[in-house]
Symmetry: C2
Amino acid sequence: MITKQVTLDHGSGGEASHELVHDILISRLDNEFLQQLDDSAEVDLSGGRFAMTTDSYVVDPIFFPGGDIGSLAVHGTVNDLSMQGAIPLYLTLGLLLEEGLPMEDLIKIVDSVAHASQEASVKVIAGDTKVVPKGNLDKIFINTSGIGSIPQGVDVSSHNARPGDQILINGDIGDHGIAILTSREGLDFKTGLISDSAPLNSLVSSILEVSSRIHVLRDPTRGGVATALNEVAGQSGVGIQLFEDSLPIAKPVVAASEILGLEPLYLANEGKCLIAVAPQDADSVLSTMKMDKYGKNSRIIGEVIDKNPGRVLLKTKVGGTRILSMLTGEQLPRIC
Amino acid sequence: MITKQVTLDHGSGGEASHELVHDILISRLDNEFLQQLDDSAEVDLSGGRFAMTTDSYVVDPIFFPGGDIGSLAVHGTVNDLSMQGAIPLYLTLGLLLEEGLPMEDLIKIVDSVAHASQEASVKVIAGDTKVVPKGNLDKIFINTSGIGSIPQGVDVSSHNARPGDQILINGDIGDHGIAILTSREGLDFKTGLISDSAPLNSLVSSILEVSSRIHVLRDPTRGGVATALNEVAGQSGVGIQLFEDSLPIAKPVVAASEILGLEPLYLANEGKCLIAVAPQDADSVLSTMKMDKYGKNSRIIGEVIDKNPGRVLLKTKVGGTRILSMLTGEQLPRIC
């Protein structure tokens, strides 16, 4: 019996659990794997290289402008695989539910998982649901783990940036962070901004077809563009220089960041990809990105340099240079 | 800087996160995959059939007699893969931490993950850590997802039980459930009982070598032996008959169950495997199980029958028969 709220019974492994799995989950995420209802899913991976990843999502609020924790959990893991140059194939879905969660909310979130999976052409092939007593977690947390295949010849890694590489991004910076923050209770100024949460596997596939000289793919989620590029600079042993003039940042993000005392380059993004590509391929990659649904506002925002290894520098509009360090301290808990 | 408690900074994606990942995680789960520190791990799966699974662990208390949430998370996912006949290869580790969790506790748990992974010969190849503000979850929850390879010729599934199959189990029933319950605050009677939490991949490999007629492998976790066998009976369209006389249940479990009003056949197990095997192979499988570290008290406890499809029957000691239905209601929240 599907009740109006999630109850502890729904996590018991008994009858109520089975009904939840059948009526709420399987019916929405329907595929030949889940129907088996065995403890794990069997997949046929015929040779080659594969990427595997895991991510938990604890975003607050669970519904936000531009998405919800369900779509975010699919996009985030699809993107983690894509950043490896992998074609995402299969996801697992681990639901952690608080007793009393409105069933309506769970259904909306599972629908959203189903929809996002379809758009990204991935299948949810195994799942797990745990319910904890009221007060033991806040509403719902989701883990998605995933596996994808890496096409022959693809070699992208945060270790591969080389001096001369151009740094590209597929659109505006900081939308997710501000969309979440301004949708929280008590921060009720309207920006009209929506999260950029989106699957990037299609965009990544397109650019990997156009260029064999893409060295780095990185999604600037928690910690933002500055932190992600610091990781790349550190791991590749290079410097990275950004041009403030070229950074695409929407006006509401600039305005909200000023009011809240935040720096857009440290805000989380959930549908953005940083790319380091050899200079001779930068233009063709850029124009390919612009043709993608999620790349219309793509830009070249910086370049890899051989000075200042491990550092990210910002060339400011007024001609100065400042160091962008890694994020220290937590700006925004539960941003994803 | 590793502080005495987990702080929100540790989940920021910034510097403190990096220190946590390096100093607490990578140093303990060291392998060539994690060292890459990319968003996902690349694995080489050369052809064949693979099983994939996910499970979240919310056990309370996080340290209990016979294990902790870390070892449990590894054993549980290793066993889910094993129940598919798969050889577990790779795990991902998703940590959800409450702000203020003592760092000492986290370290003990990660050590326990490392130790359990070594024993089960699996590698943790990707991870994710989120920290939520105090009060947003209770201490620590863990998701482990895993992938394993299925050897040629193996065909085990909850759909495959056939009349005549013997039902075996590798030891005592209900230890985990009672160990957890009696270690909770307020239930302070000493049973001396420890959880059976253990990796079963080695036992499963051994019996799959001995018999090609193993039809079903199933771990009776949440919902216990009765619920797991109800699933098998339903999915295979057969009846299953258990002999009360043959059920291995330790005296403290019987006693504690009586006091607490619980039924051992519905208690969770975390190191047990139910097996349905063709009758001609039952003895050789049983003796192979008994040679395994985790199978010393193995028994034949029942058989598959062609009557009563979808039902599990218990032949009682006094000669009666009663129906064991699926678990209804939640006996024990946060048992795993």
